[in-house]
Each structure stands twice: as C-alpha cells, then as structure tokens.
Symmetry: C2
Subunit: 255 residues, 2 copies
C-alpha cells in the first residue's frame, strides 16, 4: 500500500483573506481533516467526501498519532492549526509523534508543514509595527514547562530590551500567570511602555486595544488574546479618526 500524505496546515489568524493559497489547496486536496473543533470550523466548508476528525484541544500528541495512522494507511490528511503550525502549534507535536514511532509506514508518509500568519503578526499589523525591531515570542503556558523557565526568559528578554509577544497569556486553569509576568516586566520597563492586546484578529468581533504596561491587567485579556509589550523604544502616535498606531523604530540609539 502506498504511503499517504500528512500536511500540517496553518490557517492563519482566521480570515480566509489571510490564509495562504497553498494551505487552501491542501485543505481542498485532503481526504481527512484532523483538528480541534474551533480550527476545523475556521478552515471553512468541506465537501461530503471529506472526513472530519474533530478532537479536544489538549490532546495534541494523540491527534498527531491519529493523523499519522490515517496517512500511513494511504490517506491524504490535513492537520489544521490556527496561525502558524510552527509557532506553539501542531507541527512540533507531529514531529514528536514521528520521532517516537518506529513504524516504517509512519516514516514513509509524505510529511509537509505549510506555514501561516501567526496571531502576533496579525495583531501587530492591525496596530502598526510593534514587532518592527528585535522581539521574543514566549508562551505563558506552564502546562509543558516550569514557570521558573518562563520567568527566566521574560527577565532575559526584558533586560535586553526586546519587544515581547506573549502567547497563551491566560486560561481558566492559569489565572495568575499573566499578572505575575506583567509584574516582572514592570521591573524592567516604564509604566508608559505601549502594550497591544489583539483578540480574535481576523475573525468576527476582533478587538484591538492599545494600552500601557502600567494600565494593563489580566482582566483585560483572555485565552484568545495575544499580548505585545513594547521595548523602551516602542512609540505611539495618534491615528486619524480613532485610536493609535504603535510601532518600534528600526533604529536603536547609542546609549
């Protein structure tokens, strides 16, 4: 039996207009679509001859194994991720599943990863260009790493004056982590430091909030929000009609 194909597909932030044509083509070509329910819905409509395998968000490795089992049987499978599957998403889980398997049929699968626009990029574009200079991308979830590692990274990144893009800032099971992270960042940065909150950018009801490190609280943020904290150089300027632009200049001064 010929090995099938497993494509890890980045849907982008949610709007069809921000999904790469290669991702769209892969979804159209797939016989099986594997993913978390919300992401399968984001991916758009499927044909009756396509099989949807919808699973719970927390079972990433199980989902990856299921996808490999289907592909190894000869099927064309798309595993969907919102944003970029390479950024805190399914691509790493799929490679973990592959590395842990000694089934030659899994290793013979035609595996591809199709990148997508990630949530922080979509929020940054709406806000202007807060990621226009060196930045760090950190997940605040301590489900799979010790909180001490996250603190050490926040401290290092803030100390070296990186802009920060914070993924998975809060969840019902992780209520205190964001406030703890913000307290840590306030030891390095001025209260006036611009902060961008992008929620559901590219989806219906998206909201963009421009605030400051002094004013932001975890109550303003939920699990569908990406948080961008500026560097000491990040600037805010008035936006015609409504709100503000935020950008980090390309130039960094001698100190």
């Amino acid at each position: 039996m010929a090995a099938g194909r497993l494509a890890v597909v980045g849907l982008g932030p949610g709007s069809p207009g921000l999904m790469a044509p290669d991702a769209r083509a892969e979804l159209d070509r797939a016989q099986d679509i594997v993913g978390y329910a919300t992401y399968v819905q984001l991916a758009g409509a499927f044909r009756p001859d396509q099989t949807l395998h919808v699973s719970d968000n927390r079972e990433e490795l199980d989902r990856a194994r299921h996808a490999f089992a289907l592909a190894a049987s000869g099927r064309h499978v798309a595993v969907v991720s919102s944003g970029d599957p390479g950024v805190f998403a399914m691509a790493a889980a799929v490679l973990e599943a592959l590395e842990q398997s000694d089934d030659p049929a899994w290793h013979a699968v035609d595996l591809v990863v199709l990148p997508g626009i990630s949530a922080a990029q979509a929020a940054a574009a709406r806000a202007g260009a807060p990621l226009g200079h060196d930045f760090c991308t950190i997940s605040l979830s301590d489900n799979l790493k010790p909180w001490a590692v996250i603190e050490r990274r926040l401290d290092a990144a803030a100390g070296a004056d990186f802009v920060l893009a914070l993924y998975n800032p809060v969840s019902r099971a992780r209520p205190w982590q964001l406030d703890s992270a913000l307290s840590l960042l306030r030891r390095h940065r001025d209260a006036a430091t611009p902060v961008v909150l992008g929620r559901d950018i590219g989806r219906p009801g998206e909201t963009l909030t421009v605030t400051t490190l002094g004013a932001v609280t975890a109550a303003m943020v939920d699990m569908r929000t990406v948080v961008i904290v500026g560097s000491s150089e990040t600037r805010v300027l008035p936006r015609s009609g409504h709100g503000a632009w935020v950008y980090t200049p390309r130039r960094y001064p001698e100190r």
Copy 2:
C-alpha cells in the same frame, strides 16, 4: 481632494502560494506600487494602468515618504515588502515617516498593514518545527543599532535558552558579524546544537541546510539566508529519503 490609501503589503517568502489573498487583492487594487526592485518583481505581474515606483533597498524612509505623497494626492498605493512588512521591513519605516510629518493630508491617508509569512517561518516549515517553542527574532544588521546591543540580546536570548531566528546575517558591508554572533552563541550552547539555514525559501532555487552550531560558518550564509539556531532541547531526526527534520519540543524539562 479625497485622501488615498496606503497599504503596506507583505508578499510572504516569495511563492505566490504563500502570499495571503488580502495581499494579492491589495496589489490588484493599487494604482501605484512602491518598492525595492526585487520585491516588486516578486509581487508578480502588473497591469499597464498600474505605475511601478522601483527604488533602492537602502532608502526605506524615502520610499515611505514617496508612498505617502502619492497616497495624500488621492492615489491607491501599495508599498511591497517581502515576508511580513512588520518584521524588519517597511511597516516601521512607513510609521516613522508618518510620525515625522505634520502634513494633515498624510495623516488622513487610509493606512493599512497587511501581514505576511516571514522568512523564518517559511524556513522553519521546510525544516519541521524549530520555532515550536519560545524563540527570539534578531536582526544582525548593525546599520541602525550598535553592535553592542545585538551582542547583549544574543547573550540574553542564548542564556535563557531561547531558539534564535537571525535575520540579515551577513552582507558585503557586514562580513564579520555572523561569525562573531556564532562565537558568542557557542559559549552558551553545545556544538551539536541544530542550526537551520534557509535560503530563498519559497523562491526558485531555494535551499535548506541542516547543520550544527559547531559546523556552521559565515561562508555558508549570504544576505538571502535566514539562520535558525536551536535551543538546548531542539532535536534532529532522520527524514525519509533525504536530510533531516528539526523540531523544538513543546515540553521543556524541569532541571
């Protein structure tokens, strides 16, 4: 006279299949296309009624001002950037130009930024998922920031065990910076640390090289290459038929 529109458009890594439909639509709608020659070519074919304004890569602020002058006169203008215009590209320059202007016509322009898939994401997808855990994105160009700032950031990021995505690693005018950066990183990371070199990913003749921090040299890299340096956890596994997969696990161990 009605103000025009200025769209800062991310072309993605170069392949039409990785350019967002919103970006494509904006290019089709634009009356004027402003950009560096290579990027204007990447953007695809234009109609005879569209005017191309091709300029030299180094004149980003001049290009941004030219685009605003056109848009303020009522034109629909697209400023093109490869990758994501928000990541070391034109979006910050456009906002700098806007902030420095007190012309109300510039501030009345309908300004939008359309994100794109950035070079590091495209290279990461080809390699597997090296950016699957916390990572820092750093430009090694010291044209607009002191080298000491770059060293401090590399040191902080490596010390906190981030994966690193290095943009602008070398150019004719900056021949020594990458070797200097690699030497610094070798003080923190094992020689076996995986390194991914992605050159022209998504364009004709693309190459992907998987090597190690011990083996990589600046001679293997040019200005069209993005360099991804793994963390202590980044793993390599054999790839069916050719080469290797590289990924950074989602889980980070207690130490």
